[in-house]
């Protein structure tokens, strides 16, 4: 059952990610990216990360992607044109990317033997309680710095996006 669920959602994630890259219209890319994020949330649940799965759906698939789609509709972005790709990218791009993927997969296969395997319920420490405990004890300083970062981001977004007031 674990294998079937993993394969279903991994295939959905990969197909949607390919769709993000090959679609010419930004709205199609955005909707495919929501598919990637949703299936990743299911994979997080399989790994026992229930809080992260909920945060993935709420923050990423909810807030961030709604912001993206809002901006795409605001700018009335159309399909992009195919021209203007440089010669070097055409020749070298795909082989180099496949080489990068091969290298990553090689190291993963060498470094992580098949003895460690994932089954649902094998890790119970991903609850909101455990995460909150770690967040407010071990990671208290990064958490507070994060709130400062978000404050700066809000101010920066307002300054960048407001109308010029002369």
């Amino acid at each position: 059952m674990d294998v079937i669920l993993f394969l279903i959602f991994a295939i959905i994630a990969v197909v949607a990610a390919i769709n993000v890259v090959v679609q010419t219209h930004p709205i199609s890319s955005a909707v495919s990216l929501i598919g990637v994020m949703g299936s990743l949330a299911i994979l997080y649940l399989l790994l026992g990360a229930e809080f992260i799965a909920a945060a993935q759906v709420i923050v990423y698939a909810g807030a961030v992607m709604v912001l993206f789609i809002f901006v795409i509709m605001l700018l009335n972005a159309g399909a992009e044109s195919k021209r203007g790709r440089s010669y070097m990218v055409q020749v070298l791009g795909v082989p180099l990317l496949i080489a990068l993927l091969g290298l990553l997969a090689f190291f993963v296969e060498r470094l992580f033997p098949r003895t460690v395997s994932v089954h649902f319920g094998g890790f119970q420490g991903g609850t909101a309680r455990a995460i909150g405990q770690a967040l407010f004890t071990t990671y208290l300083l990064p958490f507070e710095v994060t709130s400062l970062l978000i404050l700066i981001a809000i101010l920066g977004a307002i300054v960048l996006a407001r109308k010029e007031m002369d």
């Binding site: 390919i18 990423y60 098949r114 994932v118 770690a134 920066g156 960048l160």
Partner: protein, 102 residues
């Protein structure tokens, strides 16, 4: 066989990361390039959660949480920058935004 090897999750993460790199390099629309960055961040989050499972510790979930927070802040600022670029140049093609090139 009822369990998934941990390397499958990491390989899926690598595939998603490489697809994000491909989108970042090959696309001309600035919004799609930005979405490819989000795809790469998601791939790294998956490997963090997988490592957290492997070592049976909650730290990886915390890193994922921080990555999500930073990504949300980055999306807000980045989209504001895109709005400003579009307002000044009325184009979304990254090849036409090249005033620092020469």
């Amino acid at each position: 066989m009822t369990a998934v090897p941990i390397s499958w999750y990491l390989t899926l993460s690598a595939i998603l990361f490489v697809l994000g790199v491909a989108g970042f390099l090959f696309r001309h629309n600035i919004i799609t390039v930005f979405m490819s960055i989000e795809l790469m961040l998601n791939a790294v989050n998956l490997s963090f959660v997988t490592f957290s499972y492997q070592y049976k510790q909650v730290n990886g979930h915390l890193f994922t949480f921080f990555v999500m927070v930073v990504a949300a802040a980055e999306a807000a600022v980045g989209l504001a920058i895109i709005l400003t670029v579009f307002k000044n140049r009325s184009t979304l093609n990254i090849d036409e935004v090249d005033s620092m090139k020469n």
